[in-house]
Symmetry: C2
DNA sequence: GTAGACCTTGACCCCGGCGTCAAGGCCAGA
DNA sequence: TCTGGCCTTGACGCCGGGGTCAAGGTCTAC
């Protein structure tokens, strides 16, 4: 099969396939006229790449899975190198989620404080007494 | 104060300040010789920008806060536009955390299954009977 | 007068993952 | 034969947030 068909069957573009080839991630055989030629095995490799990318893996991280498949294993994650990538990804995801959660709390707190400050300002405007100074500076989350 | 001093006091670089000016985010007055000139108010604006950036806000998202401060409000988040940015950021963070958590679960599941498959393969290798076919294909997380 | 520390603008580089031309080859159907 | 649809390589663009030259101006201290 040629590049256009493979791209369509995998739901991607020819540009993407040429890019993967330039990385050595999905090399292609050539026919006599210079056209790239792929088979069903290449489709499987490509599907493995795309699936991992949908999970947020970088292209380089998919390489162990692809090589695992190419070396004849039944699945891309049958090899220790792939499992290591899984584990590193898990740690990375956990750290990222924790960081975002901390920021989410910080922003939520800021929003509540700022809304309260505005409410106090409006209350002070309707009942003009000694308006309490609103305090809503952001504080850095640390180094 | 000149650009070098402001950069140092804010813990950033002159390149960054020039970049912010090119965005219209932190304009500078000029002295007779063409040098940029800043005052304490500019330092406050810059601190507001850097603090928000530490929270993961994009530069464009800091603009309402800076303009709020510049228009004389006591804090950058004293204005409705700033609060809207807070709310949008919260929604964005929630969505991002949810997405990452789903992926984290998916990857965790994959890891467990792949480890189990390997264990079964090894067991089959030591006790060579009818080896059960390992099934550990990744499935896409959906569109 | 001259060294050195500051400042100026302009321009290119980086990261990943492609999108999007441009100019030209190859092949099938009318 | 010609049109249209595939294919080829090469090259530039984009996104954000600056880093890092380069070539030159300005000021201060000695």
């Amino acid at each position: 099969m040629r590049i256009g068909e493979l791209a369509e069957r995998a739901g991607t573009t020819t540009r993407t396939l040429r890019y993967y080839e330039s990385l050595g991630l999905l090399p292609a055989r050539r026919t006599g006229n210079g056209y790239r030629s792929y088979d069903e095995e290449d489709l499987r490799l490509l599907q493995q790449i795309r699936t991992l990318r949908d999970f947020g893996f970088e292209l380089e991280e998919t390489r162990p899975f692809v090589e695992c498949l190419r070396s004849g294993h039944p699945a891309g994650d049958s090899c220790p190198a792939s499992l290591d990538v899984y584990r590193r990804k898990l740690a990375e995801l956990d750290e990222c989620i924790a960081r975002l959660s901390a920021i989410r709390e910080g922003v939520g707190t800021q929003l509540v404080q700022a809304e309260r400050a505005r409410a106090e300002l409006e209350a002070a405007a309707t009942a003009p007494e000694g308006a309490p100074e609103p305090r809503c500076e952001l504080t850095p989350p640390g180094p």
